[in-house]
């Protein structure tokens, strides 16, 4: 393998965990075949963040255009880098940036692509990737051709420690001709309640079926001394405010107890709750992926279970 090009993302002045994961794996793959690791990073802060990253070269794109994320500027810079360096493998995390740039970069450069990768390994001479598809219900083993762009689901493997000193190369940021970022808005903190601080979360998904059934979840949360949270479709439907959403584009929670009620367990949801101390899932579909991260589970109708459990808890409290 020649060069592995890794698109780095920074967070609070350091490389994101997802990026460290790419670096760890990228290094292993490169090492096995005498290849090198190059990082592509953006903005003034990136230089400090990647100073001790385990890479051979780090290209830092700098200038007015990269003060915040702008897909056009980032893509132009990456396209130029790929054109120039002809990497054997391009790795991005399956974040907003990866979903934004991975496919367009692949199409622009006529490179093959594998999305939703959760494993990347060598088998004889071939590089193989596992891609997580069908909402996590199936996986596909895919041959990764030379030059491919691969987007990796964060959390797929351990992050690299920092143990290198890459040679830093500067690249002036391209200008944005068509895309302007008008305003960046930080996450609303708290909302009506702060679900990240609750010990017990009663989390409801699309299995709730009707907003009128929220009352059942409220009553159960009340009986447990917990708080109601939810999956994304419940927010998109307008049944609960965004501050209650758990997952990739919502909050990451680690309560003592997480009830997943009528939630299938899509990768984007799991990302926000898989580290809860105790997970109890209730879903009428015994094959729902949520049961793979839950500690306890049952295949009953949540609309029957919620009132039955509430009644039992209330009866117990006397």
């Amino acid at each position: 393998m020649g060069q592995v090009l890794i698109v780095a993302e920074c967070q609070d002045g350091r490389l994101s965990d997802a990026t460290q994961e790419l670096i760890g794996r990228g290094r292993e793959l490169a090492q096995a075949t005498g290849g090198t690791v190059t990082l592509a990073a953006f903005g003034e802060g990136a230089r400090d963040a990647l100073r001790d990253a385990d890479a051979d070269v780090a290209v830092v794109v700098n200038g007015d255009g990269v003060q915040q994320y702008n897909p056009e500027v980032y893509e132009e810079a990456l396209a130029a880098m790929v054109e120039d360096r002809q990497p054997a493998l391009v790795l991005l995390s399956n974040t907003t940036m990866g979903m934004d740039l991975g496919a367009s970069l692949a199409a622009r450069q006529a490179r093959p692509m594998v999305a939703y990768c959760t494993a990347l390994w060598r088998d004889d001479d071939a590089l193989l990737a596992t891609s997580q598809i069908y909402g996590g219900k199936l996986a596909a083993d895919v041959e990764v051709p030379d030059g491919a762009v691969v987007t990796v689901i964060p959390g797929s493997w351990p992050a690299a420690g920092s143990s290198g000193s890459p040679r830093i190369e500067e690249m002036p940021s391209p200008a944005a001709a068509h895309t302007r970022v008008l305003k960046v808005m930080e996450a609303e903190s708290g909302g009506d309640v702060d679900i990240t601080r609750a010990d017990i979360l009663v989390s409801v998904g699309r299995g709730l079926q009707d907003p009128d059934n929220l009352e059942l979840a409220d009553q159960l949360a009340e009986a447990l001394g917990g708080v109601v949270s939810c999956s994304r479709p419940v927010v998109d439907a307008g049944w609960l405010p965004r501050s209650r959403q758990v997952g990739k584009s919502g909050k990451t929670v680690k309560p003592k107890l997480y009830f997943a009620l009528g939630i299938s367990g899509a990768p984007e949801h799991l990302q926000g709750m898989k580290d809860a101390e105790l997970i109890v899932a209730v879903n009428s579909d015994e094959n729902a992926p949520i049961f793979e991260v839950a500690h306890y589970g049952a295949t009953v109708d949540i609309l029957d279970l919620m009132p039955a459990l509430t009644e039992r808890l209330e009866g117990r409290a006397g």
Partner: protein
């Protein structure tokens, strides 16, 4: 202004997914519109309510997509286009993207909306692929799309609830995360009625070639773990939960 909504149908996850010899027997499965494409269609229809735009739903004839397109018409799309040719259910996204890209260029579509992802797009998401092939401005994971003169504005979601308001010059491609409102519902009767009065426009298309990947096998992933299951009796399950909570000292005293 012309908006195209690129749509595809995907296997219905409500049904059990059976893998045969490392592949999915797609011909025996039932299909539903990809949920994010449905969100994209809804957003386009909401844009139509506030600006002078023509909304065209576009799908590739990989099987039975007529119902999906007639449903789009029944919901309020102005036109529905089926790209016809020798296409099978297994048409990779890279080739789908080429077909869509050719159509959008030929028709001088101003704003292309499509779902941010689909459950089966293992070789790249359509929004990014079409943008890359056509060289258009693009953004994915977006919502709240509005037309302002020759620009579109939208909100792009980052992780953890952070987001940005952005503005793109048309022609542009947007990967829609969610519509402003839940997708509207139309009755089967209304779809049938449209089916009698409207026609789908058929456009001949050829996919050509694209850099593809080879799938060695598809399988149910081996779970790293599995929940201890309590069965399907509501009272017994409720009892088990109470006992567990007692055990873990999670009950309010």
């Amino acid at each position: 202004m012309k908006i195209a909504v690129l749509m595809k149908d995907v296997p219905d996850l409500v049904e059990e997914l059976e893998v045969e010899d490392g592949a999915l027997p797609l011909d025996d499965m039932s299909f539903v519109p990809s949920e994010w494409d449905d969100q994209a269609l809804e957003e386009a229809l909401l844009m139509k309510e506030e600006a002078d735009v023509e909304v065209t739903a576009v799908a590739i004839d990989t099987g039975d997509v007529d119902n999906m397109l007639f449903t789009a018409l029944a919901k309020g799309a102005d036109r529905a286009v089926k790209l016809v040719g020798d296409f099978s259910r297994t048409l990779p996204n890279r080739l789908r993207a080429r077909l869509f890209a050719q159509y959008c260029q030929a028709q001088a579509i101003d704003v292309v909306l499509t779902g941010v992802q689909a459950i089966d797009d293992l070789d790249g998401q359509i929004a990014g692929l079409v943008a890359g092939l056509t060289g258009r401005a693009h953004a994915s994971v977006v919502r709240d799309v509005h037309i302002e003169g020759s620009q579109v504005t939208c909100v792009q979601e980052y992780s953890g609830g952070k987001m940005a308001e952005m503005q793109l010059a048309v022609p542009a491609v947007l990967g829609i995360q969610a519509a402003r409102k839940p997708p509207r519902y139309v009755t089967i009767a209304k779809v049938r009625q449209i089916q009698k009065s409207a026609t789908l426009e058929e456009v001949e298309a050829e996919a050509g070639t694209a850099p593809l990947v080879t799938v060695r096998r598809i399988y149910k992933p081996e779970a790293a773990g599995h929940a201890e299951m309590w069965g399907d009796d509501v009272d017994a399950v409720a009892e088990s939960i109470v006992r567990l909570l007692e055990d873990k000292k999670l009950l309010r005293s």
